[in-house]
Each structure stands twice: as structure tokens, then as C-alpha cells.
């Protein structure tokens, strides 16, 4: 059986990604890595960080969709993956809103101010 027939075989296991796509994704990842490094030499002020994260996310999406076959997989795998990201976002989000809600002195054994007041 030739490789091409394999693509259309209803009993075939998995999906074969074409060489064109693999090389294309690899080149895109290399170019994006170059861009993200080059961008740090340009001062965009507060936009440097979001730009770096945007490029990283595009790279991550390319790896997931093509190298990790998510584009051709059953959608449930994508749901599993995205929900883990969702829970991480929830976790970081709650911590970030919560982080300023405590006074240093509330932590046991970590009360320089209370100790000072006692004196």
C-alpha cells in the first residue's frame, strides 16, 4: 500500500502530516523566534511584554495544531488541553486579585511591626 492510499484508508490509524506542513511550521517557528529576540532591542515601552507573549502564543498554537496533530484530532483532546489552560488562568487570576489583600504582619512569625508595637 502506498503512502497516499494510507491517507484515505478508513481503517487507518491517526493522520499523516504532509512534509510541506512540517517544514513550513518549522520555518515559521524559527522566524518567530528571531522576531521575538529582535523585538527586545526595540523599546516599545509597555508593549514589549504583550508582544513577546503574543509571539509565544502563536508559536505554541503552531506546535499544538500541527506538530501535536490537534488540528486533525478528535476535538475532545483540544477541550482537555484548553481546559487545563483555563484552570491555570483561573488560578493565576485569583492569586493576582488576592495578592494585595494581606498585611505582612498577618503571617505567623513574620510580624516585625507587631513586635515593634509590643516594645
Amino acid at each position: 500500500m502506498s503512502d497516499h492510499a494510507h491517507d484515505h484508508d478508513p481503517n487507518a490509524v491517526g493522520h499523516v502530516v504532509s512534509m510541506k506542513i512540517l517544514v513550513g511550521v518549522w520555518l515559521a517557528l524559527m522566524v518567530l523566534t528571531y522576531i521575538t529576540v529582535a523585538a527586545t532591542y526595540i523599546d516599545l515601552g509597555e508593549f514589549n511584554f504583550p508582544l513577546a507573549m503574543l509571539i509565544a502564543t502563536v508559536k505554541a498554537a503552531l506546535v499544538c495544531l500541527y506538530f501535536m496533530h490537534l488540528r486533525w484530532d478528535r476535538p475532545f483532546n483540544t477541550i482537555v488541553f484548553l481546559s487545563s489552560l483555563g484552570f491555570v488562568a483561573l488560578f493565576i487570576g485569583f492569586v493576582m486579585t488576592d495578592k494585595n489583600e494581606y498585611h505582612e504582619d498577618e503571617i505567623p512569625g513574620y510580624a516585625p511591626k507587631i513586635e515593634e508595637e509590643k516594645r
Binding site: 518549522w26 524559527m30 527586545t40 475532545f76 488541553f81
Partner: protein, 296 residues
Amino acid sequence: MAHDHAHDHPPHLAHHFDTPQQQFESGKLGMWLFLATEILLFGGLFCAYAVYRYMYPEVFDYAHQYLDKVMGGINTVVLICSSFTMAWAVRCAQTENRKGLILGLALTLLGGAGFMGIKYVEYAHKIHDGLLPGTYYDPGGHDPESLKSAREAKLKAAAAAVATEAAAPQKTADGKPIEQSTIAAAPRGPKGLRKGDGIHTETPEKADEHAAAGHVQPHGERPEGVWWFFGIYFLMTGLHGFHVLAGMGVIGWLLYRSIKGHFNKDYFAPVDLGGLYWHLVDLIWIYLFPLLYLIG
């Protein structure tokens, strides 16, 4: 449903699956569930990063200058290339190109080794320069006033005190020796890593000496709490490094099985799932690189 042995039953199909497709898809779902737990594991560290970077942006701005962008960039390229060779190896397994599969896995393994080699050079440099977390932070060598030196002096004094007591055991009024703990006092309590505790900047002469020796000399005044950055740096890259090592173990095993000729177009799930793990390791590095090396 009982499976029928009269049919052409693939030898790799486990008895609790109806078809090879079902077996493959189940394995894949299992792998994705595992990858989800890996993302949650790293999520804790990304959360720590977010909190510390938000609270101490000046520490990150200053300390990241110690990281070598070129080294980090080369490692990113190495890891992306190894991800590509891995994806290619999976394709080769699916198309029964055994030579390609072996070559792809070997190149991927080589990429992992290259990544760890560069990581080793980076870590060795940081350890040499005392760019370490917590009380081990001692930039510019053995500064007599650094936290590390203070810690060592305290430990030395505690050891000396224990030795003195051992030589001449103290006795109570009725002549019984007092039990003494041989455990040295903890050098630092809960307040040990408090902001503003024991900060020392390098003297100008020392800084010049250091720069002349080819070491990194960051711009700007050193802020308080630089060791936090290195704590986060070593935890994140260290955990990632362990994952690279684990991935290399998996790829080594896949390579062995490929040489033995275990895989074909209907049975390549181990290669595919090992590949998924390797890509996840790449994915995490894709975020670690800008977050740690490319600040500001």
C-alpha cells in the same frame, strides 16, 4: 464483545479494545490528560512568576541581564528543531520509513542533549558567580558581608560552640551532664528572606575586577531581593530541565524499539505519544524563554 481470533487480529491490539483506532484514540486521550496535569504543575510556577514580577518589577528588570539572551535563543532554536525532527519521526513511523524514524529520533535525542549541555554551561556560570536563590545568593564572589558569608560564619560559630561544649560537658548541680543539642541553630528564621535584609552592593573596585574577568555587569542600581529572580529562574528552568531529561529517556526507549523494528503504520502509538510529551516540553520553553530571558 468477545473478539474473534478467526479474524485477522493485529498482534498489538489489546483485548479490551475493539479496533486499533479505538486503542490509538484512547491512548492519545490518556496522554492529553497527562499533559493537562503537566500544564497545571507548571501553572503553579507561572503563578509564582506572575506574583513576583508584578510585585518586584525592578528585580526582574535588573536580574534578567545576568541571563544570556544568545544562549537562551540558541536553546530555543535547538528545542524547536528537535520538535521538528520528532514530528518528522512520527510521520516516518506512520509511513513505515524505518531509516527516517531512527534518524529522526536520534536527531531529537541529540537536540535534547544539546539543550541540556547549553543549560549546564549556563547553570555552571551562575553557580560560579553566586547567582543563586535565597541565602546562597552571593554575586561577585565571596563578599565578606554577603548573606552567604554571614550564613557560613554563623554555621562555623555554631559548630565551634558545639565542639567546645562537647570537649567540656556542662554539668548540673548534682553532677549530671546537661543534654545539649548538636544541631546548629537555624541560620535564618521565617524573616530570613525578608525584603531589605542584608543587602550589599558590590564595591566599585570589585565590580571592575569582575567585569574585566568577562562576567556580566548589569546596568543600574541593584534592587533589593535579586535572589527571588534566581529562585524562580532555577525552579522553572530546573523543572523544565528534568522534563527534558525524562523526554530524552522516552526517546531513547523509542529509538531502541525502532531499531528493533517494533513500529509500523498500524502501530506507532508509542512514537506519537512520546512525541506529544516532547512537544509539550518545547511548548513550555517557548514561554519560559521570553519570560526569563527577554524582559524589558
